[in-house]
């Protein structure tokens, strides 16, 4: 009896594996995402999947396989090893660590697999980075805040996870800008770990300690919480603070006429990276080699900017989208082709 059941199981397993083995794509690209704590990541993957489908109109079949789960660093190293075992042509990864993938990326490259990191830069010289410059991302809103306040007043900064590379780059970005304005005082910097609730609480504490604060530089993922605290304290009209790119935040931003601005780290970065990957797999060469950033392997994408001037327009564009939807942009297939020889 048991043996029959086992045989049946084996047969069904063999059948299923036969199904997955059949595919006639030109390129197979593995997408790895190591954290699923926000809708931004989900949107990132689905935009990349849509982009892969769009390639068939250009005569190239791109098959994407996805590994996306909350994993520790070894878990994501395993993602990469699984892709290597499967024999993909390229790997696009939103990495959980900037440095930990050096050896495994080297192994992938040795097997002729193209590796591209997106959203967070990696140190590996066997990979390239396609995404935004987090330093410029922070500098953009910092400049806006400084100018909005006329270059004077007291401000606070609410940051994400201490020690996280993107966070450190952003901190560096706003500090450099604020240092140019001698009358602008950064009275406090706190970490709220990219959580709305912690952002709200941090803002409450800040308002209790510094009731005369003029501006708040807060990263996305916490800005909605911070603004909630500002509204609860009836200070929405007295304070300028950075904001978010999510539809539900843009709703209250427009409704209440906040003095706010947001640099956009679009979830479309992975789709852009996919377009770059397909061109590279086609054997094309970049006009300008990816050599930016502190690791010398980055290709920076433009950073859209939302402030009082265009928020109504952006908001209208997102009409009908769910609240968790982030304002996005990505290199189109044609735009990407322009970047290649």
């Amino acid at each position: 009896m048991t043996s029959i059941r086992i045989t049946a199981l084996l047969a069904s397993v063999a059948f299923a594996s036969g199904l997955t083995a059949a595919s006639a794509a030109d390129y197979k690209i593995g997408l790895s995402n190591g954290w699923v704590g926000s809708e931004w990541r989900t949107q990132m993957i689905s935009e990349a999947e849509d982009m892969a489908e769009a390639w068939s109109e250009h005569g190239i079949e791109v098959d994407v396989v996805v590994q996306s789960a909350n994993v520790d660093v070894p878990g994501q190293v395993a993602h990469v090893r699984n892709f290597i075992n499967e024999g993909v042509d390229a790997i696009i990864i939103n990495p959980n660590s900037p440095t930990a993938f050096d050896p495994v990326f080297a192994q992938a490259k040795a097997r002729g697999i193209l590796v591209i990191a997106t959203d967070a830069e990696v140190s590996s010289q066997d990979a390239m980075y396609v995404g935004i410059d987090h330093k410029a991302y922070a500098a953009g809103t910092a400049r806006w805040l400084a100018e909005t306040l006329g270059g004077k007043g007291s401000i606070v900064a609410i940051n994400g996870v201490a020690g996280h590379p993107a966070n450190e780059m952003r901190v560096e970005g706003y500090r450099e800008v604020f240092a140019e304005y001698p009358d602008l005082k950064v009275v406090n910097e706190v970490n709220a770990n990219w959580e709305q609730a912690q952002g709200q609480q941090a803002m409450q504490n800040i308002l209790a300690t510094y009731p005369d604060i003029n501006g708040v530089w807060v990263q996305d993922g916490m800005a909605a919480g911070a603004w909630r605290a500002i509204m609860d304290a009836n200070k929405a009209e007295d304070i300028a603070a950075t904001g978010e790119i999510r539809k539900d935040f843009l709703d209250i931003w427009v409704e209440n006429g906040f003095t706010s601005a947001a640099s956009v780290n679009p979830p479309g970065v992975m789709a852009s990276a996919l377009n770059v990957a397909v061109n590279l797999l086609e054997g094309k060469e970049l006009k300008e080699p990816a050599s930016a950033g502190k690791y010398g392997n980055a290709m920076y994408l433009p950073i859209p900017f939302i402030d009082g001037d265009n928020v109504a327009e952006v908001h209208a564009e997102l009409e009908g989208k769910p609240g968790y939807y982030s304002y996005t942009s990505s290199l189109s297939i044609d735009e990407t082709a322009e970047l290649f020889k």
Binding site: I45, V73, A78, R81, G87
Partner: protein, 327 residues
Amino acid sequence: MTVGKARSRSMSVRVRQACATFPFLPALVILAVLFILNGMFNANSVSFQGISGLFSTYLGLVFLAVGQTYVIYAGDIDLSAGAILSLVNVVIITLMNRYDGGVLSTLMIMSIGVFVGAACGLFNGLIIAGLRLQAIVASFASSIFFTGVALYVLPVAGMPAPMIYWQTYFGSIFGIPFVFFVLGVLLLLVFLLSRTQAILHLLTVGDDQQAAYQSGLPVTRIRIRGYVVCGVFASFAAFCLTGDTASGDPLVGSAMTLSSVAAAVLGGSMLSGGFGTALGSVFGALTIGLIGSLVYFVGTPASWQNLVQGLAILVALMVGILISRRT
């Protein structure tokens, strides 16, 4: 019919007896099944190269799980194990970058790493067994403290490991990958430790702390020793992780703590203490790794992978219990 029934009953009795003598058996069976399934869906994953890849990826978690097991033996828990791993990782990386990458200095630095791990374990032991703080909360608090120290040592991830270090980890001796030797040493260590009085005492304390105390065992000292052993194993885990990732990252281990607890439980250890095997935890850690890969290889859509992975771990837990307690 009756003969068959009698035979199946005697069979189940035998299975139960085997599981009582070797509590890691269910974990081994689950691991073997997962291994076969992985091979069916992706033949490369069970090739020689695939297996050495599996080991080099998960040896860190294996060591961490074994260390966690010794604490669990005594009915305690160490939620700072991953943070100790991170701290040792950044300490040895920073030191290795300060001194030349020679063999001797690397070994010296690794012994400093062991010392750091042991010191963290001692700290945990003193506040938990000495000051009698609740293990789950106290070790959670110390994990935040250790992470803070790690961030002080290396504020942002990024320092590379010296070439000699990670090339050894990925290298081979006599054609056999280095990681197999590491696993061999670990298994030997686990075997030798299982015969020591110190480990037996941990199990005794976990089984019935009151009785252990009344029979004259130094319960506090035994529990502290358990935490020190765990800290030392966390430093071994850090050595493996540093080999596999070739870099320093002050946040690298934080997400591994709960995996180490899960691995110990999958391996047949009881969180209430007094029962378990470190060998089971080795299997448990590899099981967690193989489940993650299998979920992908069977073609689970991205948005379901977390859910399926969680369910698969639950199923593995249940199967383990069914095998060992079948009546």
